[in-house]
Symmetry: C2
Subunit: 215 residues, 2 copies
């Protein structure tokens, strides 16, 4: 009867759903979940509600799909680096650089994901979407865990400042993810500008966690 009861992009309408997700991400990024109307998303698509509700059963489901798309990309790109070669500091730096670059490149989707599951959702529609919700929270936890493990490696190797790994992860992400708050892409953004921002944030985060050389 319908496309797919889950939010997975299986088969039918996969590219149509992708286009909807991208448009939705732009509007969600701009106004947040609550203040975004489905009509507004449809207008950005040059279409009407009908198109969206043909592929998604609710606004929440669409929102979840944005989050999933974001987390899938991050996990897919960062995990191999974490499991790759190099010592903890080298791997962590490569992960951070890739992470910030993805945020900057894929801003709408990533910004929505970084903002996170706004509390309004957890309380409101938690029951109906409990399974999807858990899987998203799971992905976020997994992602943080990847960083936490590398950081833990580095601490035990004596490379990083001696902090509780879980707590050290927070400002590390903070230094990077904060860009979703202050960064506004300019028309004619040059790729090297993005690269410079990514490099600066990565260096800051790495200095924050590396063991100081002053004895």
């Amino acid at each position: 009867m319908d496309i797919d009861s889950s939010s997975l992009k299986t088969g039918t309408g996969s590219e149509a759903r992708d286009e909807i997700v991208r448009a939705a991400a732009e509007v969600f990024m701009e106004f947040g979940f609550a203040a975004t109307s489905i009509d507004a998303v449809a207008e950005r698509l040059g279409a009407t509600k009908g198109r969206i509700y043909h592929y998604y059963r609710s606004k929440a489901e669409l929102y979840f799909d944005v989050q999933i798309a974001a987390m899938e990309r991050l996990l897919r790109e960062i995990e191999p680096i974490a499991r790759g070669e190099g010592n903890a500091a080298e791997r962590l730096e490569a992960m951070a650089l890739r992470h910030t670059t993805i945020l900057l490149e894929d801003l709408p989707i990533q910004k929505v994901a970084v903002r996170g599951l706004e509390r309004e959702l957890l309380g409101a529609v938690a029951a109906r979407h409990a399974k999807t919700l858990r899987s998203i929270v799971r992905m976020r936890d997994d992602y943080e865990q990847i960083f936490a493990e590398v950081i833990d490696d580095g601490i035990r190797a004596g490379l990083f400042a001696d902090l509780p790994p879980r707590l050290a992860t927070k400002p590390f992400f903070g230094a990077m993810n904060w860009l979703t708050v202050w960064y506004a892409p300019r028309r004619l953004q040059k790729p090297e500008d993005i690269a410079e921002i990514a490099r600066t944030l990565t260096e800051f985060a790495m200095r924050g966690i590396l063991k100081g050389a002053q004895p």
Copy 2:
């Protein structure tokens, strides 16, 4: 006829307004501006809409008052430190420690302020509240400027890593302000826990900006 056309807490009803602001901050923190209903704020107060609309003319005005309360406290406490004694590194560290501590102590109000003027507002009610809006943006800029100047001092004194000051400010705030995303106060939160978090974040941010000793 009415209390005060501006959002200033002048004279009449000052403490009543304060109580409303605190309750509003809690609900805004939880649900964001758009998803927060005035009825919900009233319920948290154990009152009805009537009480709120007696002191505030709109939901936006109430929201602005939360932001103003937050920025006033930050400016009031941090500026003296910036203008105090000590070299740039010492002053910046004291500022950061105070900043994070205030965020943790005053979480609801500060979290709303850190989240910032959500874009939905700027577009929607910008015209009616243009003056208030400008003054809030002004306070935020001033606050960031205080940090930027100390950071600039430190860079020129050769204490800090050689970065564009405006760009260096971003991850510095990021490492600290990110706590508003991940930190959830626990029942029976001990003051020393707050102090440890504040110290850890401050140390991270300072290491991030201090010139590395490795030649």
